[in-house]
Symmetry: C2
DNA sequence: GCAGCAATTCTGCAATCGTATAATTGGAGC
DNA sequence: GCTCCAATTATACGATTGCAGAATTGCTGC
């Protein structure tokens, strides 16, 4: 037998798509978008390149699916922190902010993965829509938490505040992930809570000292 | 004459390098990193592809030069706004923040170029150093402006505040660039000034209404 | 266990990539 | 205006890319 074909198992469409998406994300996270070639993706997913076209009409379609998956997962992970939080509005907001600024959301791999898609987001209208939807989805959760605070605020003010809080979280997420070595443990979370609190005029740190993990008990 | 060679002019090394860097940035800004092929870069710079290797040993070296140039330019453009500002600390800080949140600093091309190199920043120690230096350089300018405000603040507080203000500017810069269509004109600048003011406990909007350009006179 | 279908592999192709190097030519110095 | 060197063009090469279609094979229903 000179021609020994590679043995394989049939998998459900759902499984295969998930595998291919995961492989794509792993490659982009490690080596940027240029590392995610169809052959590399297939190899990491344990299949051959031709199969990709069986599940995705084009490579761009796979990339889009992978990006959508990443964005959804990040919002989901931050939102999951709400389940363990109490009923107090300040406490819930603080839990959400803190969860967004620590692993697994705060992660250089996630940043690189996210950044690796940026150039596609620019040129691909569909991807831009995915990005916008994910951004607004996260911001809506944030705005919902802000709205429950014991204050009076009209719609326009709520929108402004949500944009601002989202921005400070984004910025801290970025630099905290990239330059993690130059920040003390818990510093990013503390600054995030203090900044969001300052923007909204509430004290998040007071209600939520249990969310901090400074690693050292500085005076 | 069957072989008509293309006519050309000799230029200084300085000019050619600048042209190639500018061509690279333009292409990445328009079409993402994948659009910046050596042939496309050369064509835009008005030369042939071979010349690139005459000035840069490898394409990566050119891209790195373009990245370094981008980072330096962004800080420089924001800092340039200080020259036209008055002597009042609030006014100067506001001018700096506002300049960081509007074109040419607020630019999707800059975001894409910046993002396109995240994965290299992760693995390449030199590039990480470039990023960190640029980040700290910008933050230092910001912290210097914050320190001149008429308040009392110790070193640790100044550091925290600079990180927070930098983060909110970063986040607004990102989303404002990517989703520029979903924000009103001047909205990003206004939110930036209000947020930075809230974090620092000063009113930047009061002193600096001339920095805003809302495009419409809403009541 | 046998048929048949679809999941998967395999092979190939045209295009494009970055790089290397030989062939030219513009322009400065004399 | 001639010389000569470096700036620039031109050409070529091997590798890789996304994509397509034919060939195979694992699995499901009987």
């Amino acid at each position: 037998m000179d021609t020994a074909r590679r043995a394989y198992r049939r998998e459900s469409e759902e499984t295969r798509r998930a595998d291919l998406v995961a492989a794509t994300q792993g490659l982009v996270a490690e080596g940027g978008a240029e590392a995610a070639t169809v052959r590399a993706i297939a190899a990491r997913a344990g299949v051959t390149a031709g199969l990709i076209r069986h599940y995705f009409q084009t490579k761009d379609e796979l990339i889009r699916a992978a990006y959508r998956s990443l964005m959804d997962d990040m919002t989901a992970k931050a939102s999951a922190a709400l389940a363990g939080a109490g009923a107090l509005p300040e406490e819930r907001l603080a839990a959400f902010v803190a969860a967004s600024l620590r692993p697994p959301v705060l992660d250089i791999g996630a940043v690189v993965l996210w950044a690796g898609y940026m150039h596609k987001v620019r040129s691909d209208a569909d991807l831009l829509a995915v990005h916008e939807a994910a951004y607004l989805s996260y911001r809506d959760v944030l705005q919902g938490l802000i709205a429950t605070l014991p204050r009076t605020a009209d719609a326009a003010q709520l929108r402004s505040e949500a944009i601002a809080c989202n921005a400070v979280i984004d910025g801290l997420w970025l630099e905290g992930s990239i330059l993690s070595h130059s920040f003390d443990k818990g510093e990013i979370v503390t600054i995030g809570l203090r900044s969001v609190g300052a923007i909204l005029g509430v004290n998040l740190l007071a209600h939520c000292s249990m969310l901090l993990d400074t690693g050292k008990t500085t005076a």
